[in-house]
């Protein structure tokens, strides 16, 4: 068991970091001061480093091994991105420096915006949103402001297919919308009749992930956006799965009005164990008057921030978004360019189809291919036959050094495992993973108990999640409480 950093703390220890204050001491009145010091660790730099090294050894990133976590696009994170993002000319710049002193930062934002406009078929991009869900929220506010501006506040419903990520309905609620969930057709795509029935004078818009969460490009995409537009609604493209189609097809050409991108998925910036990401939002010209503050414009004297439009939704975050994440994504965009972007999408789709094909004779694939960048398997029959669940197979993968696929999503597939290999994995890696999946299937049949007990090689076994939620322990208690 690894000690908590507080358990390594010894009174009086510390690091040598700062000189004595050179200023005459100012005292605050006691009534303004805290009663006792925070119990922060008191630790030497050596012990601090070893502590985090031990934590790193019990963590798993893309750098450690294959990470086919569906919908998360865990591709390789190029190291040059990190070099670019650590340049002093970017890290030591105050957000309120005058425009002439931040021309480089503005050039980064402007260049990245131009690249992403071309890739998405949109007219403008804001980098203010910090993550995908934040981008969804921002995009929906653009839609809301658009209808509001036209005196159509009665458009209070957002259509969301039942295969959508949970963030879609949650974002719609935060934006003040009622959510209309429509079922998927048997082929996994949008049920056009259900959509026609749902679309009407109260429709504000639709949120759609395409390719969708079962890994299929919706063949009826043009019909879908037409139905919504004919009803007076707008079309929101959840770009979580853009990696499959970047450089091949553009949301703007499919009829979408607004799109969010996950720079931390599609454009190779590292996920950092859950952030920081960047949920850049692109939109067509009809929505640009509503964009948040912080759009860069180029004038004769260089770049500057444009004054926000009168109808702007305001701001969704301080300053200009997760700027250093944009630097990383731009580095990647510059390297891939017009050939590399579609080539990456092709590689992602090729790898996914290769894995799906090799697994399809053993595992049930509810929506047979060709898939796009990911595919979904259902382990329902395996569970029925030998009581081995998607969870058990996932935990079995842990013992084989592979990060499991996304489990139990999308909700429309029972015992789902969603596999997204990404384009940066070699055939050898895919083959090893395929062999692991096949071996686990055999093991499920022969020795299901072993899989119920997996994993056994990890630092801890399956944690008791029920206990964690029933009697929450959310902080260290320091013994005396």
């Amino acid at each position: 068991m690894s000690k908590l950093i507080f358990e390594r703390s010894v009174e009086g220890r510390g690091c040598s970091l700062l000189p004595e204050s050179p200023f005459e001491r100012t005292e605050l009145p006691a009534r303004l001061c805290r009663g006792k010091a925070p119990r922060l660790p008191q630790i030497t730099e050596n012990d601090l480093c070893r502590h985090y090294t031990s934590l790193a050894q019990r963590s798993f990133g893309v750098n450690c091994g294959f990470y086919p976590l569906g919908s998360c696009t865990m591709k390789y994170n190029p190291k040059v991105n990190e070099v670019a993002a650590s340049l002093e000319g970017f890290t030591e710049v105050h957000p309120y420096q005058p425009a002439y002193a931040v021309q480089g930062c503005l050039e980064v934002l402007d260049t990245a915006e131009r690249y992403l406009c071309k890739i998405t078929g949109m007219d403008a991009v804001t980098f203010q949103p910090a993550a995908g869900a934040h981008g969804e929220y921002t995009g929906l506010l653009l839609i809301k402001a658009y209808h509001h501006h036209r005196g159509e506040d009665h458009r209070n419903k957002i259509i969301v297919p039942d295969s959508a990520h949970g963030t879609n309905p949650a974002s719609a609620t935060m934006a003040g919308y009622a959510v209309v969930s429509i079922p998927s057709a048997p082929d996994g795509c949008v049920d056009l009749d259900a959509l026609r029935a749902a679309a009407g004078p109260d429709t504000a818009g639709i949120m759609l992930t395409n390719p969708n969460t079962v890994g299929l490009f919706d063949r009826n995409i043009l019909e879908i956006t037409k139905i919504v537009h004919d009803a007076g609604g707008l079309c929101y493209y959840d770009g979580a799965n853009l990696n499959a189609v970047m450089g091949i097809a553009r949301p703007g050409d499919m009829g979408f009005d607004v799109v969010h991108l996950n720079l931390h998925k599609t454009f190779s910036t590292p996920h950092g164990g859950g952030g920081p990401g960047s949920g850049a939002v692109g939109c067509k010209e009809l929505l640009t008057p509503f964009l948040p503050a912080g759009q860069v414009e180029k004038t004769g004297e260089g770049y500057r921030f444009a004054a926000p439009g009168e109808c702007s939704i305001g701001r969704v975050k301080s300053f200009y978004g997760n700027f250093l994440v944009v630097v990383r994504a731009l580095c990647y965009l510059l390297m891939l360019g017009c050939e590399g972007i579609p080539a990456a999408a092709q590689g992602a789709v090729l790898n996914a189809n290769y894995m799906m094909k090799k697994l399809s004779s053993t595992y049930d694939i509810p929506y047979p291919g060709p898939c796009m960048h990911e595919f979904v398997m259902s382990l329902q029959s395996l569970k029925d036959d030998c009581s081995v669940s998607a969870m058990d197979i996932a935990k079995g993968l842990l013992d084989r050094g592979i990060h499991p696929p996304t489990m139990y999503f999308p909700l429309i597939v029972h015992e789902a495992l969603m596999v997204e290999p990404t384009e940066t994995e070699s055939r050898e890696t895919l083959n090893e993973a395929i062999d692991a999946f096949l071996a686990l299937y055999e093991e499920a049949k022969e020795n299901p108990q072993k899989l119920h007990e997996a994993p056994i090689t990890t630092p801890v076994g399956r944690p008791d999640e029920v206990k964690a939620a029933r009697s929450p322990v959310l902080r260290h208690r320091f013994g005396e409480e």
Binding site: L18, P22, T26, L32, G35, L40, L48, L55, Q57, G61, V62, N77, V80, T91, E92, V93, H94, A101, G104, A130, H134, L141, H165, P169, D218, D253, H271, G272, G273, G274, G275, P276, G314, V316, G321, F323, L324, V325, M335, L336, E339, G340, A343, L350, M372, A394, L398, S426, R427, P455, T458, P459, V460, G461, P463, D464, E465, A469, L474, R475
Partner: protein, 445 residues
């Protein structure tokens, strides 16, 4: 160019054969021809060397100031070397959200430790794993307080303008109403707050210290809010918490803040860190990821993402928030920073900031035309009048390599917001004063 693709043409052909597919293009057959892109209109790809050169050239076009007296929500503090060393570890850097607890104990434990440190700093009982930044933390906190019949949010005019704007946007989204509380001398006008409170108010938001640097009477604000059945959200500077009464001691229900001062570089405004902590009573309304301690089958201590019944992937449209990613790596920076500093180091940083700001205030006050505008105590920022248009002053300072205080707008037009941290030396302040004296002499001519 690359794309970091391993498979060459012959290997791709073999893979296609195994799939039973004639060409890559065939795999894309579900995409209607009408929407197929005929060619992506961006420049050709670059080598790594060229890309790095291009970005270095952009970075060089920014001015890096050696001396900074500007804060206003983004603070230059000393960042111990160990911070970057830890967060650069690729097991942390390249991991996703720790869904698979068994192989993510390191990331989960680091978040649990971060949560503990935020609880210690704020005195609150529960912290989440972080949100995007201080502004979104404030906006999410306001949404937490909404109750039937209570849909109004009172926000201090002495809060950061961008925090106010963000809260306003979120209120537009969810249909809450935002009302500003007037400010006087850099602090919230508590008498006016008393008049604004009513049975329809969900919460009151104050920033500590205020945007203008003043230390608020947060306890009185909490009493007023609670007497009206509303909650108090306190947006705190975490360095100031090394000295100041904690939000819990003041009676706040929710403490939020911008965590950037805790080991995160200025970075032109992001990525930063929103911290968020609350009373035990509000625990199940807290948005975002939360890590909890439990045991595995053998009784070993283990950490997991918990209380997920609040979250979007379970609750969908009924979730407490849509938040999915947090700022995990920034939260780790904050935890390493706080561990390296320890209680004594944090206090030392806070005291140096406080003393340095008062030294600068004293020096500026001795110059004609610079009068400190703050009523009551201030921490490491304060507002002065300015004998010349502030933009003239800052321009002159920039020519001398100094990023001066921030020229204010609105009701504070003509005034300047100054900031001192432990990064500023007495010599820098002397030099600043010298330039201002010259400016004054030039003006007098």
């Amino acid at each position: 160019m690359g794309g970091f693709l391993p498979a060459g043409a012959s290997e791709r052909a073999e893979m296609l054969r195994e799939i039973g597919c004639g060409s890559i293009d065939e795999l894309f057959s579900p995409i209607p021809q009408e929407v197929r892109l005929k060619g992506l209109d961006i420049p050709q790809g670059m080598s790594e060397l060229q890309a790095q050169r291009a970005l270095r050239a952009m970075a060089k076009k920014n001015k890096v100031f050696d001396t900074i007296f500007r804060g206003a929500g983004a603070y230059r503090h000393y960042i111990p070397a160990v911070v970057g060393s830890v967060t650069g570890k690729e097991e942390f850097l390249t991991a996703y959200t720790p869904y698979q607890a068994e192989i993510s104990q390191g990331v989960l434990q680091s978040i649990f430790e971060y949560q503990t440190m935020i609880c210690e700093l704020t005195g609150m009982e529960v912290s989440n794993a972080s949100v995007y930044d201080g502004a979104t933390a404030a906006a999410e906190a306001a949404a937490m307080c909404r109750e039937r019949g209570r849909g109004r949010v009172l926000v201090s005019s002495a809060a950061h303008p961008e925090v106010i704007e963000t809260m306003r946007t979120y209120c537009f989204g969810c249909g809450m109403e935002l009302t500003l509380i007037p400010e006087r001398g850099g602090r919230t006008d508590l008498r006016a707050l008393g008049g604004l409170l009513g049975a329809d108010v969900a919460c009151v938001y104050l920033q500590q210290p205020s945007f203008f640097g003043s230390i608020e009477d947060a306890e009185e604000a909490a009493n007023l809010a609670h007497a009206a059945g509303a909650k108090l959200i306190l947006g705190c500077n975490p360095i100031a918490l090394g000295l100041l009464r904690t939000p819990a001691e003041c009676g706040a229900d929710i403490a939020v803040g911008e965590g950037q001062p805790l080991g995160i570089p200025l970075s032109f405004g992001g990525p930063y860190l929103g911290f968020m902590a609350c009373t035990g009573k509000l625990m199940r309304r807290l948005p975002g990821r939360i890590v909890g301690e439990t045991t595995d089958g053998k009784g070993e201590r283990a950490f997991v993402l918990t209380l997920q019944a609040r979250e979007q992937h379970i609750r969908r449209e009924k979730a407490s928030s849509n938040i999915c990613s947090n700022q995990a790596l920034c939260a780790m920076r904050a935890a390493v920073y706080l561990s390296a500093m320890g209680p004594g180091g944090l206090r030392q940083v806070a005291e140096t900031c406080l003393s340095g700001a008062h030294y600068l205030a004293k020096r500026l006050s001795a110059l004609p035309g610079f009068q400190v505008k703050n009523e009551g105590e201030f921490f490491h920022e304060f507002v002065t009048s300015c004998p010349v248009p502030p933009q003239v002053l800052t321009k002159r300072l920039e020519e001398a390599g100094i990023l001066g205080g921030l020229p204010l707008g609105g009701a504070h037009e003509g005034e300047v917001l100054w900031c001192v941290t432990e990064m500023n030396t007495p010599q820098e302040i002397d030099r600043l004063v010298d330039v201002l004296k010259e400016l004054e002499r030039g003006n007098a001519k």
